[in-house]
């Protein structure tokens, strides 16, 4: 075949151009554009406080919050609480991901596994996680164990649901192909199942991160002696709006950072896909 090897020229040879015809997709990515929404919110807060439109007792001004944050960092309060929270969230997240992924594989690859796992997972999904809290406290006490388990339980659900869904959505034709190639079970898992379920898993991961933070806030307001939630509850009793807002801002920043991280992984890992996202 004498087909010319197209596409060997470097990308710098041809200038970018725009095509005729209406584009229906959102178009290419603009760097930094994702920060637009958060920046707008910040601007509203800033203007509202500067004009006195927002009462200092309702919501502290940005500069007060920054000053308070500085104090809290200086005396080590914020770093300590943050570390405690981060450890809980991370432990819960990691163990929840591991369990959710394992359950999704078991239930996705075997009918028996599905029969055993799927029902209980949907029960877990139907019961609001925080409604389980009293029971978990009875079983595991009020220590770290209970907190990590609560977070993990909240993480398992989205990981399981989305990974299982992604796995079952893998085109049957690829499974057939693997059969004709005499693929072993492990190679099938590594080359077909896991990459095929990856988009679903990563979507689940984004929900899982949010769920982990949400549960974190709640468990830290129950019988905790450390953590961001505890710091905020305490501030609430003393009417320290600025400390509460510092906690909120930290939550928001961390949440955004983690979501951004997952999205970055998503974009790297799914480079093979051609979707509206790109």
């Amino acid at each position: 075949m004498s087909a010319p090897a197209a596409g060997t020229a470097g990308p710098d040879v041809l200038p970018p151009r725009s095509a005729r015809g209406r584009r229906l997709g959102p178009g290419p990515r603009v760097p930094g554009l994702l920060a637009l929404g958060p920046l707008l919110l910040l601007a509203v807060w800033f203007l509202g406080s500067a004009t006195g439109f927002i009462d200092e007792r309702t919501l502290s001004a940005p500069w007060t919050v920054v000053a308070t944050a500085g104090d809290l960092v200086a005396d080590g309060t914020l770093p300590d609480h943050l570390a405690a929270s981060a450890q809980r969230a991370l432990l819960g997240l990691v163990s929840g991901i591991a369990v959710g992924l394992a359950l999704a594989l078991v239930s996705g690859l075997s009918r028996l596994g599905e029969g055993v796992v799927d029902g209980p997972m949907h029960v877990n999904r139907a019961v609001p996680n925080l409604a389980l809290l009293p029971l978990l406290i009875l079983w595991f006490g009020i220590g770290e164990e209970m907190k990590v388990i609560t977070i993990a339980l909240a993480v398992v659900v989205p990981i399981y649901v989305h990974t299982h869904n992604g796995l079952r959505a893998i085109d049957r034709r690829y499974v057939e192909l693997a059969e004709t190639l005499g693929t072993s079970r492990t190679a099938f898992l590594a080359r077909v199942v896991l990459p095929g379920a990856l988009p679903g898993f990563l979507l689940g991961l984004r929900f899982a991160v949010t769920a982990a933070w949400l549960s974190l806030v709640v468990v830290e307001q129950v019988n905790a002696t450390s953590g961001l939630g505890y710091m905020m509850t305490l501030a609430g009793t003393y009417g320290q709006t600025d400390v509460i807002v510092v906690g909120l801002v930290v939550y928001a920043v961390l949440g955004l950072l983690m979501d951004g991280l997952v999205r970055l992984v998503q974009r790297r890992a799914l480079a093979w896909r051609r979707t509206l996202e790109d």
Partner: protein, 266 residues
């Protein structure tokens, strides 16, 4: 139908006659006896007997819905849970080419070609197979970056790198334009000459069957309706009288009565 194929002609070196190929004591590559398959009580294949010698190229024709894919999938062992009976001997190494290229979209081209290919120098062999299919330099491309014809060539490389004793192909060029199709036919013939697997090719095109195969099998009413050897000496020129005779005969087997002289281009 004789478009300029850019210097590529489909006439091949005279093939060794299949009978001379089968050494004494050598069983056929494929032996199908009384193969019956049905869906929901409707019998689609009704007692098929089919032998394919080693290195023999058999084309399978039949009307749409006559059960060609069903037969191929049965031979490939892909029809789990389909009702039926019959016995089948197939070689150990069987490769299949589908109508779609079926490249895993999340693996680069080379990784697709060497997917579960055993052996220490799998990647080297994969590279060589891609080069054979005219895809050198595209090893690291994603499947969606290849054209339809290139994807199908990569799929062909993936089947042949395994050195199969039997190559099954279900309308592998069905989705390609006429010119690409002719190039792919030439490539397939070249690769089959080089690797000498037995081939069972399903096609809708009578001309493609005559051009490529040593033997044409027509499937009708669930059984083998006709089993016609293609002994055209010399170049398989679709305008030659022998070619036209064979085409007429096969078309009438397919139930096309007012057979046109030339097959209308798809």
């Amino acid at each position: 139908m004789a478009p300029d194929t850019g210097g590529l002609t489909l006439d091949t070196a005279p093939k060794p006659s299949p009978a001379a190929d089968a050494s004494p004591g050598d069983g056929p590559a494929v032996r199908v006896r009384g193969l019956t398959r049905g869906f929901g009580g409707r019998v689609v294949l009704d007692g098929i007997d089919l032998d394919i010698r080693r290195g023999e190229f058999v084309a399978l024709l039949g009307r749409s819905g006559s059960g060609k894919s069903t037969l191929l999938r049965a031979v490939a062992g892909l029809d789990h849970g389909v009702a039926g009976r019959g016995s089948m001997d197939t070689p150990e190494h069987v490769s299949m080419v589908f109508q779609d290229s079926r490249l895993l979209p999340w693996q680069r081209v080379l990784a697709n070609v060497v997917l579960s290919l055993p052996g220490p120098n799998a990647r080297e062999r994969g590279r060589a197979a891609l080069a054979e299919a005219g895809l050198e330099g595209r090893e690291r491309a994603w499947p969606h970056e290849l054209s339809g014809g290139e994807q199908q060539r990569a799929a062909l490389a993936r089947s042949l790198v395994r050195e199969p004793e039997l190559l099954l192909a279900d309308e592998p060029f069905g989705a390609l334009d006429a010119l690409t199709r002719m190039r792919m036919q030439a490539l397939l013939l070249r690769l089959v000459e080089a690797h000498r697997p037995a081939v069972l090719l399903v096609t809708h095109s009578v001309d493609e069957a005559i051009t490529l195969a040593d033997r044409v099998v027509v499937l009708a009413d669930g059984t083998v309706g006709a089993d016609v050897p293609v002994d055209l000496s010399g170049p398989r020129e679709s305008a030659s009288p022998a070619f036209a005779d064979l085409r007429r005969r096969l078309l009438s087997e397919l139930g096309v009565t007012d057979a046109p002289d030339e097959e209308a281009p798809a």
